[in-house]
Subunit: 340 residues, 2 copies
């Protein structure tokens, strides 16, 4: 690199920008589509295409289990995958603060390159804006992903049917608690790490080995509780889950109890909710558990009809370990800003 | 809306986020793909696909001729179109500062909706992050666009051939000078306005009525001079342009002269450079001039071979009105931060 901190020049569109692109982005994102350096990349996509976007503003930039770079790849790859799709291409837009350390930027870009390779996607087009000091807090990243939908029909929020079974691919709350505790410098943070991970491979296996899947959704901001409410609302059904069956790490339970947080409202970045017809549930569980990021998968509940059910359409009922029932509401306010 | 200023809640992923989406985004971006509310949108795309991304950080948010919302649509639509493509879908990622006026946000979203309709694209998927006060300057927007490539072969920077003719679709420097003078509160600003406009229709007409086009590129950051240098570099040729033939408004010339700026280095947001074989040049000029955003189009120069030419491969030579020649270099530093 030609400077140790980022200058406004690097976002000018001129020669300094070109050096940044050549020295940093081509090095870590190397692929022929990106290096053609046209205004847009030319993609090869077959059949119906899924597209999703997310901006990442996480604070701190680096945390146990990941950083803003890997998170920006995983988060968008996972959103595309949840359509029953194989993510193929990402765009990447950086908004950088003048004076940012180049070494820090290169660590982030390196992490993005590695995460993209693991997830099997190419970063094919990008944009870098450098704004004056104080106009942005260090680094914000937008990624937008496209992929080929391999499931037919594609899973969708309105396809949850009464009788379907609800699975989660692992423990809840790891990412959210990690960010919060790391930000606050809390000492119990040593035991926990973000679950940030790519789920494209898991989705591919589910589609090919389980077949018809009603819903796939990753419980990110708002956590499991909010995401279940969204899906129940979209499908006009009632969800019933058993608290005792929802996997939560002991360290996360303890941390949440210390801070007065509920792990079911905390963000996850490497977990999915999978809703399948009852006869497919055991197979889906077996497939997910066989994979690197699915060892703690569990069946947590069922989809019920709103007619004659224990609650109104769009509601989520949770059975407590003592056998009582309570409504699990959607997140109302903000638990944690800048969680992703 | 339920609050007059933006709260952190609105970016939480919970109920407050959903209200923002329903009240604001669905209202102005209304289309069935967006309102399905899944993690990703399902797109219908045929053939090779072009993808491009840009983040918009322009300051001020509103300026004569446009605002950050219309600019965020035009800029990305135009980048996709420059691949000889018909832009079809946009994603939209907002990063918003806590405390932002809701009325201001709605003005921006309204403007995006109108710009998308004029450009013929659907905003199909989005993301909203709200960050604490001071972590971002009011509003940043990322848009990522995809479209179907209708030109075969697609125009590309490395396809400029000796003998080709260089056209521009209108006057240079309007956007850049507008932003700077408006920001500084300069009085001559009353006469000028940004040229921000969608060029998708112009590209479609060029592809269908002119046929083989060597290069299309929009001279945004870094201006005409920088963009011509990029293309000359990619194609290993020499470009020769005539200063007297490059259209620049009198008011822009005067404003630039007052501020010591060169209009050939100022950003444009509704103009394209079109490079075509010599025998197609008159037809291309006629097509562009017949359109709403092309009335001031002009032929400004030619592509020369680097062998035996007046300069080295990748260089741009400008003939001055007095018949002299000088090298038109790429922008080195930063003329204007936050120009787009």
């Amino acid at each position: 690199m030609t400077a140790e901190t980022l200058l406004l020049d690097y976002g000018s569109g001129g020669r300094a920008s070109q050096r940044l692109i050549a020295d940093l982005f081509f090095k870590h994102f190397d692929n022929p589509l990106l290096s053609a350096m046209n205004d847009a990349a030319i993609l090869d996509l077959q059949g119906p295409v899924a597209m999703s976007t997310d901006s990442y503003t996480v604070d701190p930039l680096f945390f146990p289990g990941g950083d803003i770079g890997s998170l920006a790849v995983h988060g968008t790859v996972n959103d595309v995958a949840m359509m029953g799709a194989k993510p193929k291409y990402l765009s990447c837009g950086f908004i950088l603060e003048e004076g940012l350390s180049m070494e820090l930027l290169e660590r982030i870009v390196t992490s993005m390159g590695l995460a993209a390779r693991e997830a099997g996607v190419l970063i094919v087009t990008g944009d870098t804006k450098v704004v004056p000091r104080g106009c942005v807090d260090k680094v914000f990243i937008n990624t937008t992903g496209v992929g080929e939908i391999i499931a037919n029909p594609a899973p969708a929020g309105n396809r949850a049917n009464p009788g379907d079974v609800i699975l989660v691919s692992g423990t809840m709350g790891d990412h959210g608690l990690t960010i919060l505790s790391h930000r606050e410098g809390l000492s119990f943070a040593t035991d926990i790490a973000s679950d940030s991970a790519p789920l494209a491979h898991m989705v591919e296996k589910l589609v090919y080995e389980v077949g018809d899947i009603s819903v796939l959704r990753d419980p990110t901001r708002g956590g499991l509780a909010t995401t279940l409410n969204e899906i129940a609302g979209q499908s006009g059904t009632v969800f019933k889950v058993r608290e005792a069956d929802i996997p939560v790490r002991e360290s996360v339970k303890n941390g949440c109890s210390f801070l007065g947080l509920d792990p079911l409202y905390l963000a996850n970045e490497g977990k999915l909710i999978c809703i399948v017809p009852q006869e497919k549930a055991e197979k889906a569980l077996e497939v997910i558990r066989s994979l690197q990021y699915g060892g703690d998968a569990a069946i947590i509940g069922e989809v019920l009809s709103a007619e004659g059910g224990p609650a109104k359409a769009g509601q989520v009922v949770m059975e407590t370990p003592l056998g009582g029932h309570r409504l699990l509401n959607m997140l109302e306010g903000e638990q944690l800003p800048r969680i992703c």
